[in-house]
Symmetry: C2
Subunit: 351 residues, 2 copies
C-alpha cells in the first residue's frame, strides 16, 4: 500500500503526518458527484450500482490528498435487505414501506439476506481494485440501535418517539430487533472485509439520543457484540475498527471497552480532554465542526491547528469532521483543510 | 408561601420531598390548553395576552401536584422586542421577518425595548397574584447565544449553518449581537423579578450544538455575564437561578461556575455522575427522557425511582424532564410521574 497512514493511526502506530478523511467525502458538495447521481437517476440507484458507487467513491481522492476512501453506500442497506422496502421520498429522507412496531412485526423480521447485499460487496471489490493500493478502503455499517431507530420509526425522526416508546414499554421487543440487527451487521461487515475492506466503521448516529442507562443497554452492548463477531485480520493485516456515537462524548470510557480500535468524536468534546479520558486504550477520530468549512481558508487552518494542538503529540489521531460534510460546502475549503492538517502535523505522531 | 420546596431545593436546602415541575407543563398535551389557545386565535396572541397566559400557566397546577409554576411565554420575545418581527408559520416553528446577518444588520440592532415586553411583566404580576402563594413562580429567558441562533438563522435550524458561519468567519459580529442580547436578557429577567418572579431560568437550548471551545466563548461566557447582572434577592429572599444547556453534559464543571444556583440536565447524563462532578457547588434539575411518558405508569414509576436513586440522598435535586413534555403525552402519565416522584423521595433530601 502506498499510503497506510490511516490504518497505522487507527492502531496507534506512528505515521508521517496526521491522516485525514471526511465523513460523506463522496457527496453532494462535489459537482462531479451530482453529475454521477443524475446519471444514476436516483440516490438508491447510485448506491445499488457497483460501478457508479465506485466512481463516486474515488471522486474526492482525485481532488484532495485524502488518506482513506470510504465505500459509498447507504446506512439503511441492511433493513432494506430484511425486506422493509427502503425508499427516498424527494426532499424527505429515507423511509420504509413496512415499519417494525408490533410483536408480530418483530417475529416476522428476518436477519438480512447477504445475497440481497451482493451489490455492496461487488462495489467493495471494484473500489479496492480501482484504488490499486493508493489508500485504504473503509467499509461501514449503521449500528444495531441506529438501524432499529429507522426500522421502528419507519424513517427519520426528530424525537424518536416510537422507538423510545418501545424501549420503555416493551424492551423485550427492541432487544429482539437489536439481536437480529447485530447478527446482520456482523455478517455484513465480514462480507465487506472478505471483499476487500481494510478497516470498518460502525456509525451509531442516534445512540446519543438515549439516556445514559438506555445507551449502555440498547446501543453500546450491541456494538460490543458486533465487534466481538467481526473478522480481526485479513490479508495478513489487522482490520482496525472505528466506533462513532454522535453525541457520545459522555460515554467515552465505556465506549473504549467495546472492542473498537478507535472512537469517532463529534465536535462538542475537546479532543485533548477526550484523549486524557481514554488514554492509550483507543485512537481518536475527529473532530472539527463541519460548519467551520463555511469560513475562509485562514479560519479553517486556524481551527485545524487548534484541534491538532489539542490532541497533542504522539500517535493515534485520525483527523475528520465531527459529522458529514454539508452539501453547501465549497469544495476548495475541503482542500484547504486537508492541506492544513497535513502541513501542521508532520512528524507529530512520533513524539 | 405554602410550598417552597422548589426554591429550597435550588439552594440545596432540605425539602419535604424532591420537588418536581415539567418543562412546557402548560402546553399542547393538555386539552384545556388547546381550548385556551383556540380562544386566543394563535400562539402569539396567547403569549401576548396577560390574562390568557395566566390562565394556561395555572392549568397544569389544577391537574397535578406540581411544585412550581413557570410563566407561559415564548423564548423569542426579546428579539421580537428588538423589532425583528416574530411570527409563526403554521406547522413550521418561529420565524423572523428580519434576520440579523450583515455588519449593517448588527449595527442597527437595538437592545430590546422593555416597554414592548410589558405584556410579559403584566402576565408575571397576574400569575403571581393568582397563585396566592401556592407554589413559586419561575421567570425565564432564552440565553444570549440561543437567541442569536434564531436571530441569525431567521428561525429554527437543524445545522445552524448561518450562525456558525458568522461565528467562524466574523466572530466580532456574533460577539456584538451577544453583547446586545446579554444586556437585554439582564433587563428582561430583572423586570420579571420586579414583577414577582421568584426564581429565574435561562434556557440555552442550542449551546450544545457548539464545539467545546466555541461553547465557552460564545455561550457560557455570556450566561455568566447575565447572572452577574441579575437581581440576587427580592421580597427578602434569594431569587435562585437555573441554567440549562441542552446537550451540555460535557461542560458541567465549567457551567457550575457561571453564577447559577442550579444546572438543568438533559437525559443523556446519569444524574448521579453529574452530581459527582459538580459536588456541592450547584443543585441539579432533571433529567428524565420525555419519551418515558409514553410508557405505562409502572415503567414511568420505575424510571423515576431510578433517577431519584441515582441522585441519591441529600439536598439539591429538582425533578424535571430533560426537555419539554411532548404534545403527544397522555396527561395522566404526567400525573403518574408527579405522584411517583413525591412518593419515592419523602425525606430523601434530609439525609
Amino acid at each position: 500500500m502506498k499510503n497506510d497512514n490511516f490504518l497505522r493511526a487507527l492502531l496507534r502506530e506512528p505515521t508521517d503526518y496526521t491522516p485525514i478523511w471526511i465523513m460523506r467525502q463522496a457527496g453532494r458538495y462535489l459537482p462531479e458527484y451530482n453529475a454521477t447521481r443524475k446519471k444514476a437517476g436516483s440516490f438508491l440507484a447510485l448506491a445499488k450500482s457497483p460501478e457508479l458507487a465506485c466512481e463516486v467513491t474515488l471522486q474526492p481522492l482525485e481532488r484532495f490528498a485524502l488518506d482513506a476512501a470510504i465505500l459509498f453506500s447507504d446506512i439503511l442497506t441492511i433493513p432494506d435487505a430484511m425486506g422493509l422496502g427502503l425508499y427516498f421520498a424527494e426532499g424527505e429522507g429515507p423511509k420504509f414501506e413496512r415499519a417494525v412496531r408490533t410483536e408480530e412485526d418483530v417475529k416476522r423480521l428476518p436477519t438480512a439476506d447477504m445475497g440481497e447485499l451482493r451489490y455492496v460487496f461487488d462495489a467493495v471489490s471494484l473500489i479496492r481494485k480501482s484504488l490499486a493500493g493508493r489508500v485504504p478502503l473503509i467499509g461501514f455499517s449503521g449500528s444495531p440501535f441506529t438501524l432499529a431507530c429507522y426500522m421502528v420509526e419507519g424513517g427519520s425522526s426528530d424525537d424518536f418517539r416510537l422507538v423510545k416508546s418501545m424501549l420503555y414499554s416493551r424492551p423485550d421487543l427492541l432487544h429482539a430487533i437489536l439481536e437480529k440487527n447485530t447478527q446482520s451487521v456482523i455478517a455484513y461487515l465480514n462480507a465487506q472485509i472478505a471483499a476487500g475492506a481494510q478497516a470498518v466503521m460502525v456509525f451509531d448516529t442516534w445512540g446519543g439520543a438515549l439516556s445514559d442507562a438506555a445507551y449502555r443497554e440498547f446501543s453500546l452492548a450491541y456494538a460490543k457484540k458486533v465487534f466481538a463477531g467481526v473478522t480481526r485480520a485479513a490479508e495478513g493485516r489487522t482490520v482496525p475498527r472505528v466506533f462513532f456515537t454522535k453525541g457520545g462524548g459522555l460515554w467515552l470510557e465505556a465506549m473504549a471497552d467495546c472492542g473498537a480500535d478507535c472512537l469517532g468524536l463529534d465536535w462538542t468534546i475537546d479532543i485533548g480532554a477526550a484523549r486524557g479520558r481514554v488514554g492509550s486504550r483507543v485512537a481518536l477520530q475527529g473532530n472539527m465542526d463541519p460548519n467551520v468549512l463555511f469560513a475562509p481558508p485562514q479560519a479553517i487552518e486556524a481551527e485545524a491547528k487548534r484541534i491538532l494542538g489539542s490532541f497533542g503529540r504522539g500517535p493515534g489521531h485520525v483527523f475528520n469532521l465531527g459529522h458529514g460534510v454539508s452539501q453547501h460546502t465549497p469544495p476548495e475549503h475541503v482542500g484547504a483543510l486537508v492541506e492544513a492538517v497535513h502541513k501542521h502535523s508532520l512528524g507529530a505522531s512520533k513524539a
